[in-house]
């Protein structure tokens, strides 16, 4: 049996190869100023916020939910972080820790808000998180006063722009979050419960699983991931923009999860698939800029590539297209019928 990750991986490789065609030095990695540099490192670095958001989104989608609020949470977290260090210019690490505390606080709060609406009050996820998607951006703008808030405090920019052991620091953040998520879902029972609640909530309840707490937990985790992503984003550009930071990230993240093979119907999820999916989206964005596609058509190009990816993912489509070359076998009809 071919792995579910086969097609996403092929697509990622394909996109990277296309780059090589336009730029021979695309895969080259050099050491500059003591850091590794190159297009691949760049993709990893720029893709860090999306990777984080997508990891959180994976667990939400596995419970048959969706979190539309992540983009706004990123904006709020960035704004809160920037505000915490806005006065500081020099001196100790205290403002940095304040900023991190602010970010964690506001993202936890957002996660709890979404999670309570969905799990305790029973609002449909798409509606519940839409509230924060709209309100969150408003709050972010209130924090930044509608302006772009610039940060002059050096340690703050380290999170999204600094380096550790020759690699971008954000890389380590992603690795840590991914490791925690993988541990939680594969080494504790949380993963089983998420898949079970996502596949059949009533059967899970009757099996004695506290599905409400599972739901609450995934939304909190998603909020947290988005918050950290927002912090990286804001730190990277040393500013906070309530209007545009994290704009459309929720859609990119959903896309990354789906490309990675996790169904919007909930149930089985794949963190590895999501990582590949997020990398596909990020390298696609990078590619569109680097091979010089006119900015006015780059959204269309992106859409076309995403369409192709989705079609390739569909077994039905592959059968129709590649089936021309194979011997046809009659298929049984399947139809659901209810009696009584």
């Amino acid at each position: 049996m071919k792995s579910k990750l086969f097609w996403p991986l092929m697509i990622l490789v394909l996109i990277l190869l296309i780059n090589l065609f336009f730029d021979r030095s695309f895969f080259a990695i050099e050491v500059k100023n003591g850091y590794l540099t190159g297009s691949l490192v760049d993709i990893l670095n720029r893709g860090a916020p999306l990777l984080l958001v997508a990891i959180g989104m994976t667990l939400v989608i596995a419970t048959k939910g969706v979190d539309l609020g992540v983009g706004s949470v990123m904006a709020m977290a960035g704004a809160a972080g920037a505000m915490a260090v806005s006065g500081a210019s020099e001196g100790g690490l205290v403002p940095l820790f304040t900023a991190i505390a602010f970010v964690i606080g506001i993202s936890l709060l957002s996660g709890v808000w979404n999670g309570v609406l969905v799990s305790r009050i029973g609002v449909q996820p798409i509606v519940a998180t839409l509230i924060l998607m709209v309100a969150g951006r408003g709050i972010a703008q209130l924090i930044t006063d509608g302006q772009i808030m610039t940060v002059y405090y050096e340690p703050y920019t380290f999170i999204g722009g600094g380096h550790l052991a020759m690699l971008p620091f954000s890389f380590f953040i992603v690795a840590a979050v991914l490791a925690i998520a993988a541990f939680m879902t594969r080494k504790t029972a949380v993963g089983l419960f998420i898949e079970s609640v996502g596949t059949n909530p009533e059967a899970s309840r009757l099996s004695g699983i506290n599905s409400k707490n599972i739901l609450l937990m995934v939304y909190i985790f998603s909020g947290l991931c988005a918050g950290i992503g927002g912090l990286i984003l804001s730190s990277n550009v040393a500013s906070a923009d309530g209007n545009n930071a994290g704009l459309w990230y929720e859609l990119d993240a959903i896309l990354a999860v789906v490309i990675g093979g996790t169904s919007l119907n909930g149930g089985r999820f794949s963190l590895r698939g999501t990582v590949i999916g997020a990398l596909i989206i990020q390298s696609l964005t990078t590619t569109i800029y680097s091979i010089g596609i006119a900015p006015e058509i780059n959204l269309v190009v992106k859409a076309i590539v995403v369409l192709i990816v989705c079609l390739l993912q569909s077994a039905e489509f592959r059968k129709k297209v590649f089936g021309i070359f194979t011997i046809k076998r009659p298929e049984k009809k399947k139809e659901g019928v209810s009696l009584s």
């Binding site: 080494k187 504790t188 029972a189 949380v190 089983l192 419960f193 898949e195 079970s196 596949t199 059949n200 009533e202 059967a203 899970s204 309840r205 009757l206 099996s207 004695g208 699983i209 506290n210 149930g267 089985r268 009809k333 139809e335 019928v337 009696l339 009584s340």
Partner: protein, 550 residues
Amino acid sequence: MKKHEEPPGRQQDTALPGGSSNKKMLGGNALQNQAPILVMDGITKEFPGVKALTDVHLKLYPGEVHALMGENGAGKSTLIKVLTGVYTFDKGSVMLEGRPVRAATPLEAQNLGISTVYQEVNLCTNLSVVENIFIGREIMKRGRLDWKEMTRQAKELLKTRLNLDIDVTKLLSSYSVAIQQMIAIARSLQVSAKVLILDEPTSSLDQNEVNQLFNVIRKLKQDGLAIVFVSHFLDQIYEITDRLTVLRNGKWIGEYMTADIERLELVSKMIGKDLNELAHTEKKSGKSFENNNLLLQGEKVCKKGKIAPFDLNIHEGEIVGLAGLLGSGRTELARLLFGADKADSGEIKINGKKTSLASPRQAISRGIAFCSENRKTEGIIADLTIRENIILAMQGTQGWFKHIPKKRQIEIADEYIKLLNINPPNPEQLIKNLSGGNQQKVLLARWLVTNPKLLILDEPTRGIDIGAKAEIQKLMLSLSEKGMSILFISSEIEEVLRTCHKIAVLRDHEKVSEIENARHITQKDIMEAMAGGHTEQKNNKEAIAGGVAR
């Protein structure tokens, strides 16, 4: 014995003496002088892989109330849907007032004069009564809605046809469900209806409301309407209907005058057991559990609209059967004991200690397990493997962080795959790829792993093959010998008699009797309790026996 073990789908009605039942049909009734308004003849409807209706007949006369009888899945709903144009039929004919008709959509059927009022009132509660009656066919005057005229007509309609004098401009939600039901009927009468189908109209009404509705039905009957009445409540069938048609497994069993058919006979026709045969089934000898430790004690436990207050004692190691027709409240009772639904009142004691069972989690922690009858929707987690499905409830009791190591999971899964003979014996197979019987065994395993004190099994043997069925029955007995108590729900009385030590009988959402299963208890005794109406029964017992012997 063999014959009874066949799944209901394959049971033929050969044992029922056709002669004796035919005599009871329309014997010299006044109705016969009239021409039938609707004749459905030889209706066959097939869905891919399933024959939902096979050669079914239905004859309706103007001015009669006709009951459509049968258990869930007997084909009542399918027949109604064929009649109302929701489904098309494959074979047969439908004649309305002597002319062949074939309604392709519900709207067409309505225009022909066949109206339906469904179980759940499908009106808009946030609109007024007038709006509900006229929605879709509003009266216009000079391009605008003529509310005055509509209000007048709605008021008149309700008054003259239904004897209902209410303020029609008020919101529908301000009236009781019974009134809403009548408004739904009024709406369907708006188009000149000839046939009115009432699908379970009384299921959410209390006794007063039922009487109110019955008065309306009697009035409509006088107006010459043919009314099809579908209900699970036998008492109501005998109160309001003139004739009835019995279906079973999509097959036509017979057409009878309601007054001429005994309750017991009716029930036996619905579930397909011949009375004569019932008396002779051999059974397990009874064993008293009165001296055993009392595990669960329910007192006046009830949930409104689901099950009337009931008492139930389950001793350690005892197998208690719940008998009753489908829809008699068996599952509802079991769900209360498992905390799947919350009881309105009453108390449950476990080992003599009063406990609250507010959620399945709590019930599981008190040692109760519940294997639902709805395998697909309430049982299996389709996307997960056999192993994951088996350890799910156990992991549920251990919480998030006390993860059962994968190695141990595989051991557990292998153990139960062997014990229950689950096929394929591969713990990593997805459960959705298994046959129904094997899925059922996996679910059994899920609960056995938790080592419960009380195991509730709701129709565990339905729709699975004979081999698996026998294995599950055997397992129940051996579990009971090891001291596990079992609450066993089954539609097959014979199975209940064979395995249970005590049988609680339910009828019309009420526990009506409790029978210690001794040697002399027969299926007939259980069925009498299921059918109710004891007094008439005794007087006519001989008559029934005579009829069957013929």
